[in-house]
Symmetry: D2
Subunit: 335 residues, 4 copies
């Protein structure tokens, strides 16, 4: 008995995220073959392609069109996600598109509309936390009523150091977007209003950290701290507070040191490392979904919802006011 | 060589807090003698007086006027704090008044004005957290720049069960007031704006939990969750987040159990127990201050400031809007 | 470009461990194909074979001899490990043999001798902890001198519930054997003496828990608690104590609950779950080793060393005395 | 109503421990007055006496004989404990004698015999851990059966740095003696055998760390690590392992830092600080006992028992063998 034909995967973008996905695919996902890679920086693509045994495409379009590529991972710069997702839809090929699906709700709406026109779900958005085992179990406990009706959620999301091209808006659109997706998913309850506040930043610097207060349709209140220059490490915390108790993520498995007057755990600075299990499980589930011709993970619609909340957040950041999230009508395809 | 003459203390209020103060005084404060107790419920006063060897006064006024009473602890119901503090001032006797100093900023302003008229600080407000060893060390670390400039503070304040007479406003005026005092003290930075939000409460129930976002003059952002029906225990958390790191309170010393699939620490439901060290150190410092004819702890002005922020919080709770804290001019006496 | 020919794997034993290995191979190891399974309980083998797409062999010998099977996982009952390992050696096929390699040092010596006669390393022993990321990092830190010269190691190894056929000796030979392998590997320092003590057990019951004190050639002292009926969960702890600090494993990633007066983490009862990452990485590394015709993990010699220390432990358990570990001469093949 | 006549206390020894006791008495124990202090280093005594308002005695004998001194704290060097305790007994005055009661079982036996001759308990030994709130609660939980029948106890006792005059035997007689007292008290079960092992120490250095395995009459097994040069801080751990669960001390209340890639709690290096509550409660309970003419804490007999186990430990340290603890007949006075 032999395995089914592997899914041929092409990856657009050979930066940190694209490289991590390719290596994970090759090392841990039996049902897939890494066949093509494209990057605007060709030498970077060649180095990665050589490492994992994938050919280097001359353009994203060529990669998408290739007969050997049955499914595409989009790990290009954020500004290109929409364009490539639309191209994949036009080619009728499934894609795992890194978050955010687009840089505006209008953009992700275009992807949604194109997918609705195709009539079949092809796009999965890279909200990998939905595959993190502890988040999954957290969601199950909440659904099972372990903490009673949910009243609050407290999230903390800290990076050691921002990307050089980070912006005040990007704190929401690029970082907080993880919470904007995962919290409604955890509670099965959409976000309807956002208020973003920030401490006063030194003149000329981006507005970091930021604190968002989210309100859900079901009446829960969510606080989200995002701090992309927290220095000490990459740290993601989440506590769900219910009427009869709370449940929260614990720090990742690792080592604790007793030395120099401190007893403490080591905090990684690397988000790829922190969520390595989530990325691996995400890729395997996506490949399995490709084979079954379904999207079991976060859909283009989920990507559009998160972008819509993020846009409300950006508006709140600018205005200093509470902003209602635009009311969206969910197309039939996503029900 | 013998000890100096002890300070004769009278306690108004023989409820949980008054009894705890009296027992702590008798057991742990060498410089004081518990001489008188008053409670509207006379049998309760008699039982406590008998236990600690203090006489029972016929009225609060009688207690305050007694020659044997040199200093007064006010642990009466909140609504009486102002009246008794004014009476102590009128008698020229030092007092430790439980928080809140009054039930409105106007009330605590009257106490401040009376004290200014006396021309000497006599009133200390029972914000005992300022005496908690970990809070004290936290303040020192912040002042020393250990975490860099402070950007945010996150506070959680949970009670196992609310008092039967708790109200939505009381969540702020009675519970959150601890954070409204301790945070500006930790940062040496006053609160200038308050926004209070709440999850949706079941119809007919008080608004609990509540989440406040405080803004300080120095530009820090503070989140405060108060949840007075959190069931699992009394839990006070505080993390100060700065540019180069964070520092936070750890859970109180005690026991951890491994059993029934859990590995965890026991959470007390008793706030008197949780802050027993703080109450003891507070009382000893207060008695020492009485002897030195000074108030080294939180003054009536601090009580008025906290009441003023609390009033802004209550207004925000009602209106759903961000409320600026009234600008207060600090009298000479408190500089 | 296509992947190299996969390694065809056969698994002997369709119990919990064999099934876990097969599922992990199929789900997570691209370079392998699950081709055959054998179990004395044929329906059990058929069910598992059906699930993972592997044929069912009529006997272990038939499985080992099959042309389609290039490498074998031995997950049969302990008493059969030696026999099957010898058969794999006779067939010249690489094997991953679950621990212990044999039920006596004489048994594992026979495997070593057979492998030496073959002249090539073919056997890897299933000491999966060597692949656990935190253990790996712990070893690196120790080697880097992070804690200074090692003086002590403290290990705790608790199971929720013993197997029905567990014995007092089995506590050492089956459970403690993990520590008997991993500690010398962590320190790069062999065990030279063992003293096993136990609390008094109720009459008629096995001797559980057990505490071993190990002495290494380099002079470190190691305490090992093994308790196979610890009820609350599966719990593996390890702290290495050096001259300038200590380093230890932290609890696995997961969830913490605040409820019912406790604040704690959930402890799994399942060792396959606890070490899921280690098993996965072990299998992938083994398959990679098979392809490269090398054994990069614990060798038959490591298995023999652990069995030898275990035998000293059993002797100490029986006699109540400190027992020196037999001095072993390492064959050229394992240098 | 006034307080009862205070107990006049004299303290022999103005070193770290004596000074700490005096300051605690003056600050926190209302029923006592610090009246006299003696130290062979007279300037040191004068400085401390001036600070706390106590006169300086010309000799220990003079202090003990003074009419103004009703009870004595012995915090002199260990070698003098026995002599001063005997002198206090001869004077019929209650004493709190720091541990160890004597430097040999014969010495503490002489104290016991003298006390039996007096016919009344006058001596309390300074095993302050029995007053530590968490140890007290731990004992109550064990007695209540929370963890089921006790099978094992694991203790760790680390100092940042040894005293300059520390010796290999002193690790047991001075440091481990705390565990040798507190464990039998926790379990209500005496120690009957001791085996001490050590890692290999560098030539010319004292034998530190040490690991003792204790066996109790009831069949429990106890491991005790003592490491007096552990560098990173003062750290006392204790876990009691029973048939249905375990219970252990948590780290002391304080602060946790997130910075420089670590998330950890601060570890004090100061044992007086670590057990400040225990020392305070101990002194208050002792003074209360003096007033009631009883010894409610650890008696001379407890001191003798601990010395006897320590002597067995020292013998084991020297011989490398398991040593039975001498069987002691408890005098009527201590039943």
């Amino acid at each position: 008995m032999s395995r089914p034909e592997p899914v041929g995967v092409g990856v657009i973008g050979a930066g940190a995220m694209g490289a991590a996905h390719l290596r994970t695919l090759v090392r841990w996902v039996p049902g897939a073959e890494a066949r093509a890679v494209y990057d605007a920086d060709r030498p970077r693509a060649e180095q990665l392609g050589g490492e994992v045994g994938a050919e280097v495409s001359g353009s994203a379009q060529e990669l998408i069109a290739s007969d050997r590529v049955g499914a595409i991972v989009i790990a290009a710069p954020d500004g290109l996600h929409e364009e490539f997702a639309l191209a994949c839809l036009a080619a009728g090929k499934p894609t795992l598109c890194e978050k955010p699906l687009a840089t505006s709700p209008a953009g992700s709406r275009r992807v949604v509309d194109a997918e609705v026109a195709v009539g079949r779900r092809l796009v999965q958005v890279g909200f990998m936390r939905r595959y993190d085992p502890a988040y999954v179990e957290l969601r199950e406990l909440v659904a099972a009523g372990t903490v009673g009706p949910v009243r609050m959620v407290h999230c903390v999301h800290r990076n050691a150091q921002a990307n050089p091209d980070a912006t005040s808006e990007g704190v929401i659109v690029n970082s907080m977007i993880h919470e904007l997706d995962v919290v409604p998913w955890l509670l099965d309850d959409p976000v309807v209003a956002v208020t973003v506040s920030t401490p006063t930043s030194p003149p000329g610097q981006m507005r970091d950290a930021q604190v968002a207060v989210l309100e859900t349709a079901g009446g829960a209140l969510v606080t989200v701290e995002v701090f992309v220059n927290a220095r000490y490490g990459y740290d993601v915390q989440c506590e769900v507070v219910g009427d009869v108790g709370t449940v929260r993520l614990t720090p990742p498995y690792g080592l604790a040191l007793r030395s120099h007057g401190l007893d403490g755990v080591r905090v990684s600075t690397d988000f790829v490392d922190r969520f390595a299990d989530a990325y691996r499980i995400e890729l395997a589930a996506w490949v399995e979904g490709v084979r079954r011709r379904e999207v079991s993970g976060p859909t283009a619609w989920a990507g559009h919802c998160a972008d819509t909340v993020a846009a409300a957040g950006v508006e709140s950041l600018r205005s200093g006011r509470r902003v209602l999230v635009a009311d969206l009508e969910r197309p039939e395809l996503y029900r």
